[in-house]
């Protein structure tokens, strides 16, 4: 955990219109450890966990997630450091957990394909417009975890990802991925 960077982001966030809260006690869960385990199994790089509320109503709107992504980009750019900073986000497409349609294949493949097409095309405005709470809830009761991808789009400044794709397993939710390389958007 890079406490100094966390503090710097906390203050930089305020200047960029996002007043992040913080905690001195934070238990990282699978949302953090699983993607880290894939990307950096050595777990030897300092991190700053940023937690977003995607599942405890009232969940912020897609436009807010996009704006926070934009602000985070500006905050990172404003940091007085020449270190290379990567941003890793976890989320998902349509998914139902603890509801009437648990543990099935993608609960709304149409939603999944539509959103992945829009993300691949860099159509951030349309994603923000279509990823409403109502639409996401129809796709699956906890689909709102999708909003972390909207934040990433904001962070990328609307630039289409260099790499994007989705896999549809037979018995679990879709597995999407997207990546933006280093560079100015």
């Amino acid at each position: 955990m890079d406490v100094e960077l966390a503090k710097a982001l906390l203050y930089a966030g305020s200047c960029q219109g996002v007043d992040f809260a913080f905690s001195d006690e934070f238990l990282v869960d699978h949302a953090f450890t699983v993607p880290l385990g894939f990307v950096r199994p050595e777990m030897d790089l300092p991190i700053v966990p940023i937690w977003t509320n995607v599942m405890a109503p009232p969940v912020p709107t897609a436009s807010r997630f996009y704006a926070v992504g934009q602000a985070l980009r500006r905050a990172i750019q404003a940091l007085p450091t020449d270190r290379l900073i990567g941003v890793l986000a976890s989320g998902h497409l349509s998914i139902e957990i603890g509801g009437p349609r648990p543990y099935t294949a993608a609960t709304d493949a149409d939603f999944d394909r539509r959103m992945m097409d829009l993300i691949a095309a860099g159509s951030a405005n349309t994603v923000v417009e279509e990823a409403s709470w109502e639409r996401m809830s129809r796709a699956g009761n906890l689909t709102s975890g999708f909003l972390n991808y909207v934040l990433l789009m904001g962070l990328a400044g609307g630039r289409p990802p260099d790499l994007a794709g989705v896999h549809f397993p037979l018995a679990t939710a879709a597995v999407p991925f997207m990546a933006w390389g280093k560079g100015e958007a």
Binding site: P57, V59, I97, G98, G99, P100, R101, P102, W133
Partner: protein
Amino acid sequence: MTRYALDKLLRQVILDDQACRAFLDERPGVLHTYDLSDAECEALEALDYPRLYVLGAHPFLLNGFLMRTQTGDRASALAASHASRCDARSRQCGGDGAVPARTAERFFGSLSRGRTLRLN
């Protein structure tokens, strides 16, 4: 405010082994220590997961609670019809999780209690 107590109880059972054992062994005594509605107590007493869902339990907590309190084949409870889903707007606004009576009726009417699904 009872939905908060309900979610809190579910969370305790998920995270705390002792709380989980106490809940499974002495349910009435444990329920008494939370500020729950009669409907919530009845649903918890009966481990009636769909009812807890309709009453507004957070689905993520309910999922963990189900895994902690069911062994072997899990109940068909959560595999009820799509019509059972709570109104998205009422959940988003943090209401009491109430659903229109007609929806609830379809929910229970469509529930096949004898059927079990292997969920893992």
